[in-house]
């Protein structure tokens, strides 16, 4: 009776995702051609700039260069996978919660605070890391409960509340770091460097790719199992797909709405730990907000299907790294990727490639007797 959004929407149109990405890239290229003197070079950089440079020469043998940049793609893909999951879980309950940003900021702060406190007391990694994860997950969950509760109890629109809560969370983060966690020796506003016991082991030299990479499959699997194999997951999918049916059979719709947003917070918390304990190793006061929107694109590209999210995250991280390469080597700024991103979303969520009214028969009808088309929306 209940069908999955992901499977039912994606299965009959396997060509749509590549077509959408190609169409969006075309639009982006069109805009670039209008304003750039060297569009081809810019686009070569955009599409290949993130690749490591592998060369063979007789003198030096095989050489791999630019691994740092490819490392940054993997780093970002990990963060985006978690943020994508954080957006996708509430989306499956038809909750447009954009609160992943605030959840990530506060979770990173909690993880850093616990790491500093426990690490300062001399505990080893086996005590500090789980404690940091626990603190972050708890924070993300709690901060996710707030918009859920506001929605269930007061009917407050979750787009507005999560955005407002993001603003509050970012300011709270800055307040705590400025007032209580500032390292006076750093020269800028930031927390002290996290103790070694709190850091995730590094995998690739000169990059920040850490053991978090091994955790990603398990988290993705966990999200998938949560949706498909648990009662809460079933309720989330049902409330999202058929709210009337969910209410009719007596499902706790409100509790499901609240839980979907709070559970999303858990995945944002993983992104927070990744930022604080693996990528930056300390938290600067000017950490850039807005990553949640990137997570949104990832979730939409993956059609909110956990299994597909790592692929979408990698694709998008690849595009972003390419955009930075493009900005350095050509006259096109990297914001063009935001435009491409917007069109990817628009094409991915479109249900048709051409308006239904544009079939020749309908056009003739329109010409003969201009009147409202038959369907409502």
């Amino acid at each position: 009776m209940i069908q999955d959004t992901a499977s039912s929407a994606a299965a009959p149109r396997p060509w749509q995702l590549p077509a959408a990405i190609a169409a969006a890239l075309l639009v982006g290229f069109g805009i670039t051609v209008l304003v750039s003197a060297e569009p081809w070079r810019a686009w070569l950089a955009l599409l290949t700039g993130a690749l490591p440079d592998i060369r063979f020469s007789d003198a030096e043998g095989w050489q791999v260069r630019r691994l740092v940049r490819f490392g940054s793609v993997i780093e970002e893909a990990i963060t985006l996978t978690f943020l994508g999951l954080a957006i996708a879980i509430p989306f499956r309950a038809r909750q447009f919660s954009l609160g992943a940003d605030g959840q990530m900021f506060l979770s990173a702060l909690a993880a850093a605070a616990v790491s500093l406190a426990l690490g300062g007391m001399g505990y080893g990694a086996f005590a500090v890391l789980p404690a940091a994860f626990a603190a972050a997950v708890l924070t993300g969950f709690t901060w996710g409960l707030v918009p859920g509760w506001l929605k269930a109890r007061y009917g407050a629109n979750e787009i507005v509340t999560t955005l407002m809560l993001n603003l509050i969370a970012v300011q709270l983060y800055r307040l705590v770091i400025t007032q209580w966690m500032n390292d006076p020796n750093a020269g800028f506003l930031t927390t002290p460097v996290l103790p070694a016991a709190a850091l995730l082991p590094n995998l690739l030299p000169r990059t920040n790719v850490s053991a978090m990479l091994f955790l990603v499959p398990f988290v993705v699997l966990g999200a998938g199992l949560l949706l498909t194999r648990t009662t809460v997951g079933y309720e989330i999918r049902t409330v999202g797909q058929a709210p009337a049916f969910a209410r009719q059979v007596g499902m706790p719709v409100k509790r499901t709405v609240v839980l979907s947003m709070a559970l999303g917070g858990i995945f944002a918390a993983f992104a927070g730990v990744h930022v604080s304990n693996a990528l930056l190793k300390r938290l600067p006061v000017d950490l850039t907000p807005g990553m949640a929107f990137e997570g949104l694109v990832v979730a939409l590209l993956a059609r909110n299907e956990p299994r597909a999210i790592p692929m979408a995250a990698f694709l998008y991280a690849y595009l972003r790294a390419g955009a930075q390469a493009m900005e350095r080597t050509s006259d096109v700024s990297r914001e063009v990727v935001l435009v491409i991103q917007a069109f990817i979303i628009l094409f991915v969520v479109s249900e048709r490639l051409l308006p239904a009214t544009w079939s020749p028969a309908r056009l003739l009808q329109w010409v003969r007797a201009p009147r409202a088309p038959k369907e409502a929306r």
Binding site: V35, A93, R94, F96, L98, L150, K151, A152, R153, Y154, G155, A156, N157, E158, I159, V160, T161, L163, M164, L165, L167, I168, Q171, L172, L175, T178, Q241, A242, P243, A244, V253, K254, V257, F293, L296, L300, D331, V332, S333, E335, V337, L338, V339, Q341, A342, F343, I345, L346, V349, S350, E351, R352, L353, P355, A356, A372, P373, E375, A376, R377
Partner: protein, 344 residues
């Protein structure tokens, strides 16, 4: 004592003027959000649409001055205004096309338009101006202010009517408050307004009654784009006389909140927009105290949350997944974030 009183009146008038200035962009966008919301098309792209209009308004005025050097400043400003509105209508039409013709979910498409606006404005800013932050290097004109003479004898009243420095209020400040009346008349006194609300209440019934549903939704979206665009143009050609990256700073989302807070009525929306304007002014006034700036920045979003809680305290909670049957019971329609689009 009387001097003290005069001082306080003057101070109060300054505050009122500041609130009016802070309210204007939110009010425009909120009226836009109201019109599209009543037609059943929630417009979450208000933020991006404001940004688009703000950018193209400034650039239009700058290019008009470059292309026709003989043109007086005020004409450039109005040409810029027209360019901004044209751009915003184009982007809104794109949004409407993807939603109404290609079946894209309106909320997701609206979020995409916000991204598009944030990216496109900065991208074009870098390309055309060579600056990633703002158009501060260019001299762009502002739209005029309206001065009402003959009030020099009453400083407080003069301050209230003509603003700080006695230049008068910006023409778009007046327009915003006139727009409240216009929207109210349109929605409750014209046939098109009734059609529009009917489409929002029950599209199937409206279709059955012979109302062109899709056309009304286009009208609603374009109107909301136009109004949000005026708000954006006020930001870049009145409030400031330059464009800054992300200069809307969440006002479009505040406007969305104002629609819900104002119980989806023009006057309620006006009151909510005034509240948000006042909370922004309150934040700047608190800045004079010894509070950390972060606490000050938390005030407007916190006020918004409190207001949403206050607005929803007596209503049976809507979870946004409610269907039309429930809206009949509560007498008003929830935000149309229902699942019906999935099956459409």
């Amino acid at each position: 004592m009387s001097l003290d009183l005069a001082g306080w009146t003057l101070f109060a008038a300054t505050i009122v003027v500041a609130v009016l200035r802070a309210t204007t962009p939110i009010l425009f966008a909120a009226l836009g959000g109201l019109v599209s919301d009543l037609a059943g098309s929630i417009n979450v792209a208000l933020e991006g649409l404001m940004l688009i209009a703000a950018f193209f308004g400034v650039m239009g005025a700058v290019y008009a001055a470059q292309w026709w050097p003989g043109l007086p400043g005020w004409a450039c400003a109005w040409l810029g205004c027209a360019a901004g509105l044209a751009a915003v209508l184009l982007v809104t039409a794109t949004l409407g096309f993807f939603h109404l013709e290609l079946g894209a979910d309106l909320i997701v498409a609206g979020i995409a338009v916000n991204l598009l606006a944030a990216g496109l404005t900065v991208f074009l800013l870098v390309t055309l101006v060579g600056d990633k932050g703002s158009t501060a290097g260019l001299s762009s004109p502002a739209l005029p202010s309206l001065h009402i003479p003959g009030l020099g004898g009453l400083p407080a009243l003069d301050m209230l009517i003509n603003g700080e420095g006695g230049h008068g209020h910006h023409v778009l400040v007046y327009t915003a408050f006139l727009a409240v009346a216009a929207v109210w008349i349109f929605l409750s006194r014209t046939r098109y307004g009734a059609w529009l609300r009917a489409v929002g209440e029950n599209p199937q019934a409206a279709l059955g009654a012979g109302i062109p549903v899709k056309r009304m939704r286009y009208v609603a979206l374009l109107t909301s784009g136009l109004l949000a665009g005026l708000g954006g143009i006020y930001l870049s050609m009145g409030y400031l006389t330059l464009f800054q990256a992300d200069m809307t700073a969440g006002r479009g989302f505040l406007a969305l909140a104002a629609v819900f807070l104002g119980a989806r009525r023009p006057l309620g929306t006006l009151a909510a927009a005034l509240l948000f304007g006042a909370s922004a002014v309150l934040a700047t006034q608190l800045g004079a105290l010894a509070l950390p700036t972060q606490v000050v920045y938390m005030v407007p979003p916190f006020v918004t949350l409190c207001a949403l809680v206050f607005a929803g305290r007596h209503k049976p909670a809507r979870t946004g997944t409610d269907t039309n049957t429930d809206t009949k019971n509560t007498g008003r329609k929830g935000p149309p974030i229902s699942s019906e689009r999935l099956s459409a």
